[in-house]
Amino acid sequence: MELLGLYNYFVFAVLLMVGLYCILARTNIIKSLIGLTIFQGAVFLLYISMDKIDGGTGPIILEGAPADTIYANPLPQVLILTAIVVGISTTALGLAVAVRIREAYGTIEEDEIQEMDREQ
């Protein structure tokens, strides 16, 4: 049961590994960028896993709610809201660069690009 309580964190670790491997091992730029979103997504999971409290509910304090209601921790949620937006911003920028690379080199495979740059 102790390990089960850490299951979220293990998944976080595995996603991080998959993401990093995808970024570093794949020469295709779009694939690497997908890897980057997985890598960032893993971190969202780390933070959000921290906000949960047993028997709690979302941090919305409605009038008339019983005084002993347990609320989830709002802070990690706020942080991840911003982190998600950072993620999409980075991805959009990366994709735009990928499109321009394709236009300039005719390919989005990094090894082929490297080959072309060396010839130059």
Binding site: L16, L20, I23, I29, S32, L36, F39, Q40, V43, L46, Y47, M50, L75, P76, L79, T82, A83, V86, S89, T90, L93, G94, V97, A98, R100, I101, A104, Y105, E110, I113, D117
Partner: protein
């Protein structure tokens, strides 16, 4: 609240507000003018703040009026003020310097977004420097990184795009690693405010969390600061970015990551993780020494002048890493002073390179034959900068080297090795600087080369020489950066 009380916030707010306005300005030259105005204002504010904290005070500014640790506070002491001056000064100088060269390199259509990105890059870097909140550092790190990507991608060569892509990937990995580290810190302490974390971290029993948090933060920031062997993104980004952009990012942006590294490692972990001093040394000493030699050797064999200077930056960052690893007042002072001095030196040198590139249309060293005679002032600025990299007295590099060796000597046996490494790599710097000098002064231009007869325009020469002279002034009277760096080092080590 008086205007003076609002200065910490204004340092970031002025550029932030100017950026969207600059983006909307479509008339020729106006976005540039807005950028200059914002950056010069920010520089003045930074100087005013530095004057306020020069005696060792700390300014706390509560964003939104919420006290720490609940709200985000700005935290300004001598160290952050020094860095803020470096960032805003480098940015303003590079912009003014680039008035002509940028119009040349950056197209009219993208000028608004280019200059808005530039302003935001300054805002992001200063934001990282003055904030007192670990997560807020991440946010402003992203502001500065994303805007730097835009600036680099504006380079004229298609290889700028590939360089930008690598920069995006590595920069994002670095920032994400930092974010993971902050997550673990939050998990262990429940707080995000750096001062609060430092106060609470002593009670934490989960040492593994702290250890790994420290590791992730350090490695993430080392990646952003391009400490060898995590530098792979940097040489090409510097090389293919527009020349004026290189001036700015080489002078300021990697330094800020190093600053955050110092700040977090010393303010939070240093006293609270057992043997953190040793861990830091085990990580940074090998990296630093490798950086010194690998960077210098790569620079020696490099044919492209911009990339040569980029590799030299890899080596120079090695000095800073060594200074950080020493965990002593003189070591940290050396690291901080060198961040400042190297900013001045490299900024000036890349300015000279931009002048050369304007006239020669090339930054291949072989094509610069005869530059010593055709462009005497530019080359003189370059040589003075080069002497600074070597660490010759009367250049700012000497001051940093002095403290670095002083710090190393305190370390006994290992210190002797460090001193040897530091000085040996200075000598390697002689080789790569002199390689350029010999071509520029003593080689006859090729017969088929287009002869260059004119100096760079005054709008470029004057800022270059202002930076060079500022460097020389610092070299002769180093009291300003040294006082602030020593104050910062003493505060970080808890000696004050």
């Amino acid at each position: 609240m008086t205007l003076h009380d609002q200065l910490p916030a204004l340092l970031v707010v002025v550029p932030l507000v100017t950026a969207p306005i600059a983006y909307l300005l479509r008339a020729h030259g106006l976005p540039w003018a807005a950028a200059v105005a914002a950056n010069v204002t920010a520089f003045i504010i930074a100087c005013a703040l530095a004057a306020t904290v020069y005696g060792g005070e700390t300014i706390i500014y509560e964003m939104g009026g919420w006290p720490a640790p609940y709200g985000i506070v700005l935290h300004i002491d001598a160290l952050s003020a020094l860095m803020a001056m470096l960032v805003t000064g480098a940015s303003a100088a590079a912009l003014i310097f680039g008035a002509k060269s940028l119009a040349d390199e950056v197209g009219e259509e993208i000028a608004p977004s280019f200059f808005a990105a530039w302003i935001l890059c300054t805002a992001g870097l200063t934001g990282m420097v003055i904030t007192g909140d670990a997560f807020n550092i991440f946010v402003f790190m992203e502001i500065s990184s994303l805007s730097t990507y835009i600036l680099v991608s504006a380079g004229p060569d298609r290889r700028a795009l590939v360089a930008t892509y690598r920069y995006i990937v590595m920069g994002t990995i670095g920032a994400t690693l930092y974010l993971i580290g902050v997550g673990f810190l939050y998990m262990a302490t429940g707080s995000l405010n750096t001062v609060d974390i430092a106060a609470r971290i002593g009670d934490v029993t989960e040492v593994r969390l702290l250890l790994v948090a420290a590791g992730f933060i350090t490695v993430g920031l080392a990646l952003k600061a391009a400490i060898f062997p995590l530098h792979s993104w940097m040489p090409n980004a510097y090389t293919f970015a527009p020349n004026v952009v290189t001036v700015f990012i080489a002078a300021a942006s990697a330094k800020v990551s190093l600053y955050v590294l110092i700040r977090i490692d010393y303010a939070i972990f240093y006293k609270n993780i057992p043997n953190h001093e040793l861990q830091l040394a085990l990580l940074l000493v090998p990296m630093g020494i490798l950086a010194l030699f690998a960077g210098s050797m790569l620079a020696i064999y490099e044919k492209n002048l911009k990339r040569l200077l980029a590799y030299s930056s890899v080596a120079q960052v090695g000095y800073i890493a060594l200074g950080i690893s020493m965990a002593s007042v003189s070591g940290l002072t050396a690291a901080i002073v060198h961040m400042f001095n190297h900013g001045l030196i490299k900024g000036g040198m890349f300015m000279a390179v931009a002048c050369l590139a304007l006239r020669y249309r090339s930054v291949n060293i072989a094509n610069l034959a005869g530059a010593g005679r055709a462009m005497p002032w530019t080359m003189a600025a370059f040589v003075i900068g080069g002497l600074g990299l070597i660490g010759v007295p009367l250049t700012p590099g000497f001051i940093s080297k002095w403290y670095l060796v002083l710090g190393a000597l305190e370390k006994g046996g290992l210190g002797a090795v460090l001193v040897a490494a530091i000085l040996l790599s200075s000598l390697l710097a002689v080789i790569y600087v002199w390689k350029v000098v010999e071509v520029a002064y003593f080689k006859e231009p090729r017969a088929n080369a287009v002869p260059v007869e004119r100096e760079a325009p005054l709008v470029m020469l004057i800022p270059t020489w202002i930076v060079v002279l500022a460097g020389l002034w610092i070299a002769i009277d180093s009291s300003m950066p040294v006082t602030m760096a020593t104050l910062g080092a003493e505060t970080l080590l808890g000696a004050r």
